[in-house]
Point group: C2
Chain length 194, copies 2
Amino acid sequence: MRYPATHKDDTRARIVRAASRRFRRDGPDRTAIGDLMGDLRLTHGGFYRHFRGKDELFGEALAEALRDVSLRLERAALAAPEGGRAQAIIDAYLSPEHLGDVAGGCPIAALASDLSRAGRSLHGTAFEAAAREHMGRMANYLPGDTLDARRRTARVLFSGMAGTMAMGRALADPKRQREVLAEARQFYRTALGV
Amino acid sequence: MRYPATHKDDTRARIVRAASRRFRRDGPDRTAIGDLMGDLRLTHGGFYRHFRGKDELFGEALAEALRDVSLRLERAALAAPEGGRAQAIIDAYLSPEHLGDVAGGCPIAALASDLSRAGRSLHGTAFEAAAREHMGRMANYLPGDTLDARRRTARVLFSGMAGTMAMGRALADPKRQREVLAEARQFYRTALGV
DNA sequence: TGTACATCAGTGAACGCGCGTTCACTGATGTAC
DNA sequence: TGTACATCAGTGAACGCGCGTTCACTGATGTAC
């Protein structure tokens, strides 16, 4: 082989990482394979040694992005004292830093309508699994009597906060953006009683 | 003139209406001018007699869609008894009918990430005005001591419900979709105390 | 140890397609006389 | 009332561009002998 045995896996992983950022920033329709490969100083032709096509990459990139964000939120939760973990998650998610970092932020917020359009075609993909995992992980830090109730809360909370994040990013004025985030943090903390 | 004086305005309005449905259903990048004009049995060339380009149409179509939805929600509110209006709005928005009707539903839910990407370029457009109007109109039916507080609630509520709607549509199983809607209706009613 | 060969990640030209936009033209009707 | 002309919404060919995907080729390295 031309390259060490790990090289191909390495390249593949780097493509997924670059894609997860570009997809979040520009959306799937405005992300070109050529630009993506250019991020790694490669050319577009080589892409097909790693993926069947753009759709396959989209699913994987989305899943990785969500796992990333989810683990980051978990770290924020664990850094807070036991009683303040739900609040820590809400504050971390609805932070100005997150609003400013589309490319590294929550893929649900960055790609809400693309996911909605993908609809049934997402069924059974790595992203669906990652979403379930994410809701389960977050449920551990949310209030609720049963695990099921906490999972329900996670679904409503995270889809709601993603919507607010998307709308906040559409605002032109940074001051208004921060206000909306603050309003939402207040709202969700009160709603959850944390 | 070849056509009656009202004809051109008529055609323009019909283009906006068709566009508002196609944009919501397929997203701006997958909506082709040719298809759009085909909806009215016209050809693509004539489009430029009415609009400077696709972007101009996008802004107008979005604004009309939001005004439409907003007025529909207001009618739902007014059909309910005085104490139940906020609930009526939440129930109408988070209904299975709305989930099933992307093309005729809330453009914030249908186009959240496209709006987020549009960012500053939305500033000063008809859509921005329509969004402000919508939040103001809804504020009339929400709880809160001051108009400003009710407006804040409207922003959080509608961006949140839009996110939940987008995520709900991404689910493959209709039963799960209805569950998520019911959870969210419960959540927001409780949060607003209505 | 040295040599010939096989492998395969990556290259870049080419193909096909869809789409936004432009533009010369059409033809039905209103208007001027 | 009748005729010539102007108007302009709409037509459809054409242009230019970007992009996903394919494919023959490259060339560095591992392997066989």
